[in-house]
Symmetry: C2
Subunit: 213 residues, 2 copies
Amino acid sequence: MQIVFLLYDEMTALDAIGPHEILCRLPGANVLRVAKRQGSVHTDSGLILTAEYALADIPHADVLLLPGAGNATTLREHPEILSWVRAIHTTTTWTTSVCTGSLILGAAGLLSGLRATTHWAALDRLPAWGAEPVQERIVESGKIITAAGVSAGIDMALTLAARIAGQDIAETLQLGIEYDPDPPFDSGSPSKAKPSIVEKLQARLVASFEKPK
Amino acid sequence: MQIVFLLYDEMTALDAIGPHEILCRLPGANVLRVAKRQGSVHTDSGLILTAEYALADIPHADVLLLPGAGNATTLREHPEILSWVRAIHTTTTWTTSVCTGSLILGAAGLLSGLRATTHWAALDRLPAWGAEPVQERIVESGKIITAAGVSAGIDMALTLAARIAGQDIAETLQLGIEYDPDPPFDSGSPSKAKPSIVEKLQARLVASFEKPK
């Protein structure tokens, strides 16, 4: 089972690494990391990841995962990446995204007419690609699964692990990463956070979405 | 504010990357990644991270974070790393660990007489270093904060963010990563998972802890 993570400069590392930590431990998983060019990928937190493969090396995936990025123009204006995503999608059993990774799916033309989610502050970007924005943590539309912002990738990956390998395996993976979350605050969604915090963060994030390359 | 992540071969990526995604966004944070040697670090999921600094480059940290590893002998038998951890600890405001990272603190002699936690399957290793094992998600003992397995690092980092920069900033960071967890199963701790799952996983993890380098 070939599980392919697309990496790219300015991506958010946790979008990929949360699911990666779960999916790499699925029985029979062969996890590959691919980028436009083989080599270093500079994430938006300064952390440098490595893609062992270039796009042309990977013609097929059973599972494709697209992480997001604050700067939403980063990836979506690279036509060769969008073509690759479209081509890989024809080979997948599951095509998935975390955070604004769904906007890559949108730009690739894969969300037209579908329900989808993304980071809460980017939901209003989805209709531009013909998608119906849904403020849920995980949205399944056929073989496409989109997850909400950053940390939602962990919940999505556990859901996907159960679909692929059954609930017992998924529960074992959850126990392995001791995922019994207990956040010290209840500020993880715009409906729960203080309005002043939502407003300030939204303004900052929307500005980053608009930031030119 | 210098926040230093120790990276090493065979570490678990999410132990570091969860907190990294939060702490790098603290106002004034200068986040550095250090390893025994500058360069590539091969994590236990196949993912390759990069350490921009070698131990000798970093004589000081305001915050030190030690991730864990399945193979608990990996790091703890490197005396030069333990000496570095001891030396850095004398300069920190906060010394922190995620998962079996606390066993590094133990081996460095820093947990003697202190309450501490680690991955649930490794709790019984703590007394060997004079520490009192505590099955809680986050344990604060003075300036040392230890977190439970892998994903507990996210909760720990939010707690630490509030200590450093105040609750409003921490809540903003939580909203930024949309950390409103909603695991599809309730199997994230040994007290909640099915006993058969706990038993099987514990046997496998204990074997990995014993695995020679």
